[in-house]
Amino acid sequence: MSILIDKNTKLIVQGITGNEGLFHTAQMFAYGTNVVGGVTPGKGGEWALDGKIPVFDSVKMAVDATGANCSVIFVPARFAPDAMFEAADAGIPLIVCITEGVAVQDMMRVRNYLDQKKVRLIGPNCPGMLTPGQSKVGIIPGNIAIPGNVGVVSRSGTLTYEVLYAMMNLGLGASTCVGIGGDPVNGTNFIDVLDMFEHDPHTEKVVLIGEIGGTDEEKAAEFAAKKMTKPMVAFIAGQTAPPGKRMGHAGAIIEGGAGTAADKVLALEHAGVKVAKHPEEIATLLK
């Protein structure tokens, strides 16, 4: 059926009264996500979405009042590290940070702290997650994917939508789609999600969408060769990216000759993973 989120997910939104926070809260709510509350310090006691969702001053208050078990963060980059610490300290086991542009040293502190608390973080700089027909946490448009048995994991945002959309057009649905984000230091990596898909009885095939920079795709290839029994299709963005340049995502950079698309494609092909030439081909290779 799904990993990480489903119809039982009780979600709060940190930064619910901001522009993006409010817009996407409405979208998530309309999709059927169980949004139980929001947090904006100083606005506790107010209501969002025409009185449908209560706003709290702190994550702790929101958790105490609603029993929330997941938080999605829409606060600006300079406040996002504090929002992640706050959610972890309030006992939220699954944090999804959409915010782009968090300083990397902040992220190293956040990640190391959350690891000690055994809290799972998705992102930052990610589109969040979608379990079609059940729950949507983040900004992935709900109307571009249908329920199905393909698990999708990606470092990208809109590129992932592309793939979901192409899959839908061929009648292929997703079990869960997880956007792990494009930052060099993030909360959850490819292999964490591959492992979850491998153990999810309702996921039968897996799509991995990677890009230049770092070695996470190579590690995923190694994991696929050793641990994955389910068929995988991959796509790597950045074949034409010049070295030494940061391609939008903080983590998408070829450094010292390492992290090229060619290396990643080779590693994945070696591991028996089919690699698509362009995103629309992914859906065809899944058939």
């Binding site: 300083a103 990397v104 900004i139 448009p141 571009i144 470092r155 590129l159 034409t240 990216a241 362009h278």
Partner: protein
């Protein structure tokens, strides 16, 4: 954001890391006066934000002030890897007994900073890593605790530093950690850190720092150090608008939302026989003004023969993007063909807005790539 050597060393010295006496000069005359003040032999070092300055002839030793003037004039007229030399650093010459490498960078796989040191200093550390990796000592630093004293001692011992210098080395290593942590650096590097033959003390002869752009909001003083001469004007302009733009050599301009999709759009243009003219991510939540600015930046590149807009609406709503495109069309009046693909949130409204604007529309990514290659007049 890269800092120049003189900027990095100035920051090092504020944190108690010893550096040579010296100052920066923009003219040969200034260099001469600094050399006179310093007296004796000086080193003239070009200040450009690329590696390999020494090999390119951008670092020279002058025996006196007149020599310094001459060499500075020569170096100030140079280009190193296409970058003009606009400043030189005039440092007192040091008596180098031993060259050590000491640096801190982010190890993204370990999600921790890593301090690296080597007794094989003064050369490119990546080269050392390739040829003699055993000569590099690496110590991961807990980002919540910082560098521990014992870790610095382990490094000193690991590079066979004479024991009488351990205490001094410890101070430098811990101060370098503070430079890294307090300035949100992604790289701090002393190469070489020397043992000075005149007094048997350690000194940072060179300095390199890269600052995390995402942290500049809390380092206003550092942000002001950015050398705008060192980057393409279009990239500066893009950053001013919060856009991510990288110029390439092709003829098909690309405007895409999302970095991954932007890279993919470049890749697919190439796959279907075209060459991308740029990488451009208009980002999440891009409004009309941002899109208009993006379009102007793409069209400043005279190689551009067609523009491909590939917008998949998530956080960016397609109607906003369409309004942006229309506003930009009004303002820029482009004379190259436009291929537009809008899918996702509010896509119908976006497409309706563009219907009258005489644009080539595409349904799929493949279709969009093929149409833009055709529009740019590329024949297979």
């Amino acid at each position: 954001m890269k800092l120049h050597e003189y900027q990095s060393k100035y920051i090092f010295s504020k944190y108690g890391i010893p550096i040579p006496k010296g100052r920066v000069a923009a003219t040969a005359d200034e260099a001469k006066r600094i050399a006179e003040e310093l007296g004796g032999r000086v080193v003239i070092k070009s200040q450009v934000l690329v590696g390999g300055r020494g090999k390119a002839g951008g670092i020279k030793v002058a025996k006196d002030a007149n020599d310094a003037e001459q060499l500075a004039a020569q170096i100030l007229s140079m280009h190193i890897k296409d970058l003009p030399v606009r400043k030189v650093l005039v440092d007192e010459a040091a008596n180098i007994q031993t060259e050590i490498y000491l640096g801190i960078t982010n190890d993204r796989a370990a999600r921790k900073p890593v301090m690296m040191a080597s007794s094989a200093g003064g050369v490119d550390i990546e080269e050392v890593a390739h040829t003699t990796p055993e000569k590099i000592i690496k110590v991961h630093i807990d980002p919540l605790l910082g560098l521990r004293d014992y870790q610095a001692r382990d490094i000193a011992a690991g590079i066979d530093l004479p024991r009488e210098l351990w205490r001094e080395f410890n101070t430098i290593a811990l101060n370098l950690w503070r430079v890294y942590a307090e300035n949100d650096a992604t790289l701090v590097e002393i190469n070489p850190l020397i043992i000075n033959g005149d007094n048997n003390k350690l000194m940072a002869l060179d300095g390199k720092m890269i600052i995390d752009d995402n942290a500049l909001f809390r380092h206003v003083n550092l942000a002001e150090m950015r050398d705008l001469d060192e980057e393409a004007p279009a990239e500066t302009e893009a950053r001013r608008h919060g856009l991510s733009y990288i110029k390439l050599d092709g003829t098909i301009g690309c405007m895409v939302n999302g970095a991954g999709l932007a890279m993919t759009t470049m890749d697919i243009v190439k796959l279907f026989g075209g060459e991308p003219a740029n990488f451009l991510d208009v980002g999440g939540g891009a409004g009309a003004e941002k899109v208009a600015a993006a379009m102007k930046i793409i069209l400043t590149d005279k190689n551009v023969k067609a523009v491909l807009f590939n917008i998949f609406g998530g956080i960016t709503r397609c109607d906003e993007v369409a309004r942006g495109i229309l506003a930009a069309m009004d303002e820029v009046k482009p004379n190259v063909p436009m291929v537009v693909r809008l899918v996702g949130t509010n896509a119908e409204e976006g497409r309706r807005l563009l219907a009258d604007a005489n644009m080539i529309t595409a349904e799929t990514l493949v279709d969009a790539a093929q149409k833009s290659v055709k529009a740019a007049g590329i024949k297979k």
